[in-house]
Symmetry: C2
Subunit: 335 residues, 2 copies
């Protein structure tokens, strides 16, 4: 049997109040008593029960994290930042994969609430009105990571996707490219896919490049395979492209893979720029020029923000837009 505070009290021949004090404010206890208690604790290998504590303090030092799919490196790197920060700030993380599946999200939210998490981090998905409603019902602080909401007042940490999309495209243009395609995400996703596309289009306009949306943009889901297929469609419609902006590293790798298999040399025949800068970007060939999102930091800031809210402090900026950066490697050629 696991020992409890009573066992310790009995063994040390003091009251449970005293044991509790030794644990929580040892300087209120006489040294002699303290030592007796410490000895008993050690002997019994006693650890306080956080459930009982949590019940009293209405704090669990546990945060919930909702993530679409942890086996995606993008989320894994963000999560690493969250976990390190949580550990530093004395929280634990309960991880729930949502799989972009609403019933599962609802179920997770329910048990997270029951388990009395102090706060919630919601990652990456757009915030629909019913989600906002759910967050309200939780009655605990919520922070958005790698997503945001313009309609609702929810603290968030993310990159400026429109600007990043602009810069990725501009970089291609400055390298001499004029016939540029894009592998975009799903147009159902207003927080990430649409802004990156808008940035792309703005860059084309800014540099007076005419482009036919129908032929130069292909949408794909977020996985490697989708990038592969989108690349195929793109080249079929616009065979004369010299560069492609793939709006995630995985999509970029899919696109490059397509090129490899069809005898198209990257970057000699076709330049590719990615987005995210997951570790994928350096492990592939050619190494990927890409827009770096500070993934670790996004996770870190999200947890720090949530911690402030949990402690009842101000959150600082409501919506934080963290700086991205273009990382030059070998997948884009100057022409």
């Amino acid at each position: 049997m696991r020992s409890n505070i009573k066992d310790v009290a009995k063994l040390a021949d003091v009251s449970i109040s005293t044991v509790s004090r030794v644990l929580n404010s040892p300087n209120l206890v006489a040294e002699e008593t303290r030592d007796k208690v410490f000895k008993a604790i050690a002997e019994l290998n006693y650890t306080p029960n956080a459930l009982a504590r949590g019940l009293i303090h209405k704090r669990t030092q546990t945060l919930g994290v909702l993530i679409p799919d942890i086996s995606n490196l993008f989320y894994a790197e963000i999560l690493r930042g969250m976990e390190d920060t949580a550990h530093r700030l004395d929280y634990n993380l309960i991880l729930c994969n949502t799989d972009n599946n609403k019933p599962r999200l609802l179920a997770s939210l329910k048990v997270l609430k029951e388990k009395q998490i102090d706060g919630l981090i919601f990652t990456s998905e757009p915030i629909y009105p019913d989600y906002n409603e759910l967050f309200q019902q939780l009655q605990i602080p919520v922070v958005l990571a790698a997503t945001h909401s313009l309609e609702f007042e929810i603290p968030s940490v993310k990159v400026n996707d429109e600007q990043a999309g602009f810069e990725a495209t501009e970089y291609l243009i400055r390298n001499g490219h004029r016939r540029i395609g894009m592998i975009a995400g799903s147009m159902m996703d207003p927080v990430t896919a649409v802004p990156r596309l808008q940035g792309f289009m703005r860059a084309l306009r800014t540099y007076n490049i005419e482009a036919d949306y129908e032929t130069c943009v292909q949408n794909g889901n977020y996985r490697f395979e989708d990038g592969y297929e989108a690349m195929g469609r793109l080249l079929q419609k616009s065979p004369d492209l010299t560069a492609v902006f793939a709006s995630s590293d995985e999509r970029a790798l899919g696109a490059i893979s397509y090129c490899h298999e069809h005898g198209i040399k990257v970057p000699d025949d076709l330049s590719v720029i990615g987005f995210d800068n997951t570790r994928l970007a350096v492990m592939c060939f050619p190494k990927l020029t890409t827009i770096a999102q500070p993934l670790y930091q996004i996770g870190q800031l999200a947890v720090e923000k949530l911690d402030n809210l949990v402690q009842g402090k101000q959150v600082g900026e409501l919506r934080t837009y963290i700086a991205h950066e273009l990382v030059e490697r070998q997948s884009v050629a100057k022409i």
Copy 2:
């Protein structure tokens, strides 16, 4: 304020016992009463407090997971299997990165115990005697995932690394290779690195291939960069190699990256076989021939095993060795 069972009882004009019954054994309650209670619950948006419940039942439906580094795709894919299974079996997972850092491990273990997790999954690292001691002190079931212990009786799920290493090497041999090198892990790791190396050596012996350990094996850590460097050292010592067994996909990609940058064609000039079959293996070029570990399944089985133990059932096999599989892709040439 969050509502509690008393609020519900008051609003429904019943005792808290009745509210509790409605929640836990509704058929013991008269329909009329039940409806009143349900109405009150809905009106107050009441959710039971799992801390209070856990205190009574001595069960939290929460499992601890210790993982070296979640931003490594290998662990991320295992974790995905764990999380899906946990969700199905009605558990949540508290994730702790250990970072191969002992103080952090100790700290995590301490709070996991305090938070009354029902069981623990320990991933990947070898089990030293002091770790075993710690597990004992936890007084809760522990399952090992992607590692095992031969000295201690701890349930585990992993692949047979020696045999897998043998088969990877044998595959190279059967494809005509005789001058084969290996990029191995650290020889401090008896559970994964050493067996794979042993399998490699056994294959060479079996096929009567003489090899000088000093020149044909290079050790590297588990990351991409280590594979890159190990490849450099390997080719310097044994420039005539026609094939390399890299004992992880990341190491393999590092090795291939070295080749790309030094004008060595894979697989035309040099064949490379990997190990793990993370999603990396298909996203790179050339696509990697590799030993597939069923990562998702390892996570799944580990959680199922742990669930059995938590429920006081038998665990079945103590040490489960799950089947691996060689996946042929494009990084190995027949010569």
